[in-house]
Amino acid sequence: MSSGMIFGLTGLAIFTIGLFGALVMVEPLRRVLALKLCSVGGGFMLVVAAWRAPPEVADPVPHALVITGIVVMISATAVALALIRRLHTLEHDSDD
């Protein structure tokens, strides 16, 4: 057992939990959060791939990739949330 192993499995578990949420959840916000869980799981996998048992230093390339992934994900989240807000406005207006 090592930190990498523990967190690798954690990341996989988070990814599949997110996948499950993305497949079965119906609430718009919760689906977005489920997708964010998936992205954190993917991030874990890359961070674990970079990890080396100390005293060796970690591989910087996956770290850069995860930072990129985080920024990409916030962009996608922002667009999805804007769609949710717009859809709500449209449905709300047509109801009354």
């Binding site: 689906r31 997708l35 998936c38 791939a49 390339v61 990129t68 996608a76 667009v79």
Partner: protein, 488 residues
Amino acid sequence: MTDLPRIDWPTLVVFMPLMGAMLAFVCPRQAAGLGLVAVLSTAAAVAALVLEVLAQGAVVTRLGNWGAPLGIDLRADGLSTLLLAMTAGVGIFVSLGALDSYAPMRADARTRRYFWPLWLLLLTGLNGAFLSTDIFNLYVMLEVIALAAVGLTVLSGRREAVRAGLEYMYASILGALLFLMGVGFVYLELGRLDFAGLIAAEPAPALTAAVALMIAGLLLKSALFPLHFWLPGAHANATAPASALLSGLVVKVSLYIFLRLTQYMPLPDELLVTLMGALGAAAILWGGIQALRAERLKLLVAWSTVVQIGLIFVAFARAGQLGLVESWKAAALLILAHAVAKAAMFLAAGRIKDEVGHDRIRDLDRSHIRPTLAQFTFALSAISLIGLPPSLGFAGKWMLMEGAMAAGYWHWIAVTMIGTLLSVAYFSRVLAGFLRFDRLRTPVGEHQGWALADAAPLILALSALGLGLAAAPILAFMEIGYPFGTTP
């Protein structure tokens, strides 16, 4: 002449639309003009790249001069360049169509202002994806494409479009994240992300997991049955030029990446190839039935996209695992055929809707206005999609059947035949309406609804038909630089 710095076309092909997108966003009033210029100059750069590839084979650009595993390489070989050319060609005509479709009397200023930056960003993403040789870079490109495509889907701002766009967004992000997880597994095993590393890799459990994850993500993004649920709504509810881009080009990216990956990371076994074909066959049947039931013209066209994607996967699987070295060409030819014909068809459907005022198939023949030229365009592109000679669709289907026959896989031929019959059936529902002149007729009826705007889809439809004659040179061009790593 020789001491001039060599212009690096692959980089320009990606950067030109990017610069155009920024300009069109910063100067919203001039967006259409700037956008058109950017699309045309991108097409010129692609043309230059095509000539370069023809002259000297695959073109590789080592960005930052670091070289593959550390840096990122752009590589333009036959297949990439062919798809770039397809994107540029379809892009020009869709842009021309958009000029009319978003003209001041038809659309509000917002739509006009936002279409161009989004479309140019989409073009950036598409070109970048076709040139990329790094799987993480492909992930980023997929996200650029996804965000721009979702923006285009909801351009009209109507409720159905927003709902479909949200569904599309979920599917798109999930697909991209599955791909990202696959990237994680690749790095875990290989410690590098470039295509060359994938080819050299020994089979390993982590790579199997990576292939499974990436293919699952790509199938979701390319809407192969049963993961097609998001496609009909998104493509049918977008405005016509956006639909043409989504159906003609965006879906093709994930198909292209799928073809690439299977070139470099051989599928683990025959069963998986057969599964792809079987899903494709199911898509052909299910999509065909849904297209027969569709009540609206654009929805029918969107379901026909599901069918065509199924067909592309059948072409991919036509000769099993051993036939993959040849089958990708049939699939690529069908990708090209579908892109051109479907873009023409969506533009024509949009023109019909604009002129008639609705797109209910049942009532199309009861209109006073007969947009004959748009109807003719629709029929021409239907010919290519059905796969009648001499269209490009015919060439693709022919290759599919030829390969299946040679390998003795008769079931794929049967599926293709059934699919062809189904497509004849559902397109006839529309075409029959076009041919009935007797329902309603006003004195000026017949020649109404001709416009210059019909030219763009018509040229696209004619090229879908005519390119079939050029299938042999296209196939030869596709093979330039294949397989990876053989050319400088």
